[in-house]
Subunit: 454 residues, 2 copies
């Protein structure tokens, strides 16, 4: 039988082959000491002033459930790399470590750990690919959505992106990430089912096209859904709006259509024109909803123009984070066997050891972060907390969806205006290393800087 979907049965092997070869080496070499791995972004893309941490729930679910199935072990046995005794060891593989993380919906900045895993090295190593895949996805999408929500300045934002998102898993989990970032609702029914998020939708061109006449289509759809939003751009937007007016005349007091949707052309200009037509017919309560290739920049321009649009359907640009479809995420070994670890490759430094991030605040406004060693006591609010112990999730692990949405709203409101803005912030949000961490980094790096061989 062919495989179509990834489930908990498969997550152990939704990983890079090298994780498994390294596991065999750790096993064979009896390397079982405790490791610390940090998941963080190395830098921000130009069009992001912050990231919104998301995806922890999926990360913790994985760590609690990861197992090698018979199917997976059977497959690995067909590869030349693996010894039978190692595969037997994999059969008993469980994650038994601890995790420290920032709660979902927390704005984070470069080099700040989103989560840190503390576990025997093999357990923490295996998790690399999966944790990155899932935390990257939701953080990427939430960070983009926060910009869209910002641009809409309180107008409704509806997620329309499912059809061009990258696959089914992104299709479902995007709804969660977007909701945390402040998006109002989603067209994605499974997102609604899975997370209890409000779902929304109007009608497609195909419905209109299936009728010989646009007005017939409007009349028919409104007979089934009286308070619907009618899509007016199938043939000509202005004529479409005029047909809505015609329907209103026909139906009289029974006319309850809630709005019209514009989906192509110059949305701001068409919105002004549509408003005029609707108002002239006394249809003041019929709102105008816009969609069609929108991103945060276009929404900001529409809002700036004062166009009478009350909500936006945002698809592909948000659904694949089109301007920035990937973040420079890393999951790196920062300690092993009690020693801090780093890397000297250019542009890829690693902050050694377990860490804490302190967010400094003045009068309710975040003024900067300090990344410190985990046991330092510094002014400011510590962002990382223990969320898993001995492989079990702790209560209040920072993944409750409604709390995460509230947190994001609260924490974003607290960021300096220039950081919340769409334009690249200058200067960027201040993030510094504590003197303690700075000194530790130097100490660890010095261990690896040697004179070149002769």
């Amino acid at each position: 039988m062919s495989k179509h979907w990834v489930t908990d049965e498969d997550t152990a092997v939704l990983t890079d082959l090298y994780e498994l070869t390294m596991l065999q080496a750790y096993w064979k070499l009896e390397m079982r000491d405790e490791a610390v791995f940090s998941l963080f972004s190395r830098r921000l893309p130009e069009r992001r002033n912050f990231l919104l941490a998301c995806g922890l729930d999926e990360a913790l679910h994985y760590l609690e459930t990861v197992r090698f199935s018979d199917e997976a072990l059977g497959y690995l046995a067909t590869l030349p790399q693996f010894e039978p005794a190692f595969l037997e060891w994999l059969r008993g593989f469980r994650f038994t470590g601890d995790v420290y993380a920032v709660p979902e919906g927390t704005p984070v900045f470069p080099e700040e750990p989103i989560l840190e895993v503390v576990a025997p090295i093999a357990e923490a190593q295996l998790a690399e690919t999966f944790l990155m895949n899932q935390v990257h996805l939701q953080t990427l999408l939430a960070s983009k959505a926060a910009r869209v929500v910002r641009a809409a300045e309180g107008r409704a934002v509806v997620d329309f992106g499912l059809r061009r998102m990258h696959g089914a898993d992104a299709g479902m989990k995007s709804a969660r990430a977007f909701y945390i970032a402040g998006v109002d609702s989603t067209s994605d029914v499974l997102g609604g089912l899975a997370y209890g998020i409000p779902v929304a939708g109007t009608m497609a061109h195909s419905f209109i096209q299936a009728f010989d006449d646009e007005l017939d289509a409007f009349r028919a759809f409104a007979s089934v859904f009286p308070d619907t939003i009618l899509l007016v751009d199938t043939y000509d937007t202005v004529e479409g709006v005029e047909r809505v007016v015609e329907l209103a005349r026909e139906l009289g007091a029974d006319f309850r259509v809630r709005g019209v949707r514009l989906d192509s052309g110059d949305l701001a200009a068409l919105a002004f024109r549509a408003r005029e037509i609707l108002d002239a017919a006394g249809l003041h309560e019929v709102t105008i909803f816009a969609s069609g290739g929108l991103d945060e920049d276009e929404i900001a321009a529409i809002v700036r123009a004062g166009a009478p649009i009350t909500g936006f359907g945002v698809g592909t640009a948000m659904g694949v984070s089109k301007d920035v479809p990937a973040l420079d995420f890393a999951y790196k070994l920062t300690a092993y066997a009690g020693k801090g670890r780093t890397k000297l490759s250019p542009g890829k430094r690693i902050l050694p050891g377990r860490k804490q991030v302190f967010r400094m605040e003045e009068e309710g406004r975040a003024t900067g972060d300090v990344i410190a060693r985990h046991d330092e006591e510094l002014p400011g609010r510590p962002l990382l907390r223990k969320v898993m112990e001995g492989g079990r999730r702790l209560p209040d692990d920072g993944t409750d969806l409604r709390e995460a949405r509230d947190r994001a709203r609260r924490e974003l409101a607290q960021l300096p205006e220039r950081i919340r803005d769409l334009a690249p912030a200058s200067p960027p949000y201040p993030v510094t290393l504590s003197p303690g961490l700075e000194a530790y980094l130097d100490e660890v790096a010095a261990r690896y800087r040697r004179p070149p061989l002769a």
Copy 2:
């Protein structure tokens, strides 16, 4: 219990809400006539001269298996839109239609149908979101990968992208799309398991870092995997290569290390330097593998420079199709109740009716395509074939993985050089409409062009 994964149980509701509201309207209005929907790309992004059609297997699997589960129906019953009798009708929902499609691995061009669905309108309508989501994903990734393979000019290409792909489903299915496009192997173990694709991998920085000394790490890893590829850039690439030479001296005849991997810095320059060092030590058989932020342009530059690199690990740029993370895909009603249908929105024309694409060939070289009505007989090779009848897949439905890979290689080789090149093709590949389709489009469009209302 919270939901973490999409499976066959969920695909019916991995859809936009409006598909379901439209279904209720069709049901209520007793609209049960046959519809034709076409899935196609409206235009090519500047950096794509063709698309490689992929994802049909998943599309057909969906159409064969789509059902509304009790969980889905229970959820829909909580929404205000849906009537109990309609939900009962959904319980019996099956796809009973026909599908025509181009086989996977076929290069396609704007407005050419990748697939056409012929079914009672509700059945074809529901499928919109899911079919687009899945066919878009695999076509997007295969189209990108074909460029990377082209740039590598016969050198090995290994997919390293799983960690930054958009979620688990993309993580698994990307392996299939990449394989069809000619990628040699993947780091993605589940991709290997699911599709029987070769898997590959080396080692990570974390393994090196877990040792106090790089040479100790190399020695240890080679003791477990003698014919491994050693990652040399953790501290300093040139010193890393020198340590491999040192290991070779130590091990003498037992030294079987197959290669070194460069993962940062100026890869071409470092490859020349590494080759010198290895050759000077007599290690001519140790190859150089490169990775680290590579895309097709960088690979082409490295190949042009003649750098002694035998294989490339390609991650994020290919894994999210970074330069073009979404295609302008559409799934549009082209006929209903025996009448052709179109749309007049600017830039969004729809070619009415069922269609066929004829690929013209001269001396084994594709010279251009003609999109025609489905029943026209024109010169050239017809690309669409019937792959599903009455809701059941037909034998030889164009989805066999190995055949699709062979097909892609064969069909790409047949395209004009300028179309296969990385640079934007000028002129683009010629695609025209048959006079018959042209006339039909005019006829259908004329039906919808009316004088504006007074």
